[in-house]
Symmetry: C2
Subunit: 337 residues, 2 copies
């Protein structure tokens, strides 16, 4: 048990799990239940990349230098400001004899646990990355513990597409689970045109919900309208609670997929009594959610969006395969990145 969550990789502080650690041991030598991946690409968490880009005014060289410094210092790509990481793609290089993970040498895989707990060493100085996109070509090694989640990349999808889907695959799986606890619920998704948002809408619709999306611009509205997963689409600032509630109030389930701070109150205000708010945005403030619901006397269930639901990766890939317009939305996003 102790070894399987990676405790022996924690350098400081002692006694915490790898995600909470300030620094990990990223040595490429593996323990008996570990797996070593030869890294090909990192996918930085959107909130993390935005913070870095804003801090450095979009200067790619400075952004790259800071990513290298974080990984060098911490032994993992764990942005100390946003607290978030991302995921990676690579090829399985070595599998420890006691690893329970369903992978073999040579498999092309994506890690489905956060980079914030994944021992990572970068060996190419990120020479092939211009610092201007969340997609980071990289060479180096990463370690997976016994208790981990990894997905072998499907043959019928480009790796970039699979990675983009895996990155947010917890969202549609949890939305599906929550929707099935209600009877034909009204589901509102803040940030419906994004990756987690559009898959959440697709999952909700397939599970029998009526769906409404809040998006930020006419361009997003038009793109999402083509996908056919939202029965209604409204343009609003998700940080303005009054606007959100006026345009899309009374939802049974509200899903927050907008990666900017300040969306808690709008989500709570737009949710009907006995409803559920699912926070997937890593920009969510725990205290703003807790105090906001109390201040509004809102009898709503608020869920911390757990990125893990059994079978979530296959579920999300299946949604993409069977909803071509959502796949098109993803492809457009990737092309635009």
């Amino acid at each position: 048990m102790a070894g399987s969550v990676g405790l022996h990789r924690v350098i400081e502080p002692a006694g915490v799990l790898p995600q909470a650690a300030w620094r990990l041991d990223a040595s490429p030598e593996i323990g008996p239940d570990e797996v070593r991946i030869r890294v090909q690409r990192l996918n930085l968490d959107a909130a993390s990349f935005r913070q870095l880009a804003q801090k450095h005014g979009g200067d790619g060289a400075k952004i790259r230098a800071e990513v290298l410094e974080i990984v060098g210092t911490r032994g993992k790509m764990h942005n100390p400001v946003t607290g978030s990481g991302g995921m990676l793609i690579g090829v399985v290089e070595e599998v420890g004899p006691e690893s329970p993970l369903p992978v073999k040498q040579g498999d092309r895989v994506a890690t489905l646990v956060s980079l914030t707990l994944t021992p990572l060493r970068i060996t190419d100085g990120l020479a092939n990355w211009d610092g201007r996109s969340e997609q980071v070509p990289a060479d180096g090694t990463a370690i997976l513990f016994g208790r981990s989640i990894v997905g072998v990349l499907p043959d019928d999808l480009p790796a970039e597409l699979a990675l983009a889907v895996y990155d947010v695959c917890g969202a549609p799986a949890l939305v599906d689970r929550v929707v099935r606890n209600y009877r034909e619920p009204a589901v509102l998704v803040l940030g419906g045109a994004g990756k987690s948002g559009s898959l959440s809408l697709a999952a909700a619709k397939r599970a029998g919900a009526r769906t409404t999306a809040i998006v930020v611009s006419e361009a997003e509205r038009d793109a999402l309208a083509q996908a056919g997963v939202a029965d209604e689409i409204a343009i609003a600032d998700a940080r303005n609670p009054v606007e959100v509630a006026q345009k899309a109030g009374g939802a049974d389930i509200t899903v927050v997929c907008v990666d900017v701070p300040g969306c808690e109150h709008g989500a709570i205000l737009a949710t009907a009594e006995k409803g559920t708010v699912i926070f997937f945005s890593m920009a969510t403030s725990f205290s703003a959610a807790a105090l906001g619901a109390e201040g509004l006397a809102a009898d709503v269930t608020m869920l911390v969006g757990n990125g893990y639901v059994p079978g979530h990766a296959d579920f999300a890939v299946d949604l993409l395969r069977t909803t071509p317009a959502v796949r098109a939305l993803f492809e457009k996003r990737i092309a635009g990145d």
Copy 2:
């Protein structure tokens, strides 16, 4: 709808809810769905009072002057440094004809929403307060919106005791609700000897759960053992996930009531598959919880502890009345404050 959350009381900036506002209109004239309270005492939030006391080196006159200045400038007692408020006690002076709140003129009440969103005017210059305690005798007026929470003070409990219970009353009510979704669950409470922790244990036990508490010291263990609400009590550091999981693993429901950062991973690791973690501590980190569950491949439901559940104040007071040992625990805490 718009009026009921107090939007018309927001002076600046426009478009935000009263809690997020810089300045509120605290005029004593009430709207049709508002209630005016004649204020008797403010209970400043502990973090807020501590900040003021430190800033002014404990000089009561200066602390008093700053509280008056904050309330005069902002129209509410919303400490701009800590972002926190507190609550108040007073007597209902006027009830608007359309108010849905269950109070009448002359009721002695405590407000259960934060002072950070309560329009407040002070008329006695806080002449009866020496500026040296969180308990602030005051004369003035406060406004409650239609959508608010207020508790009539019970006749059989001292006001201080009722306030201490109201302060944490969301916790036992939500624990009760979650326990009833399971069949004779095992409930683990981190921080079981505190106010929210002991009431959560009492609620879980009454709802049919087996209860385990994690406490930090032998003194806490002995005090809690007398209360009779925990079937088992273990001493552990709630911030050490391995220790927590070893001493109290396999819980169906884990309730986090420890007000220090870093308890997310222990709570997740101690919770069985398909279990629920309820985070009541305001020190909870959203990202640590979300990424922690994912990193541990933990299929658990994680709830943001909503401070509002209908009937929560009466429920908590009833628990206190019917569990004398828990009442004793509270009285000891108040005496020690």
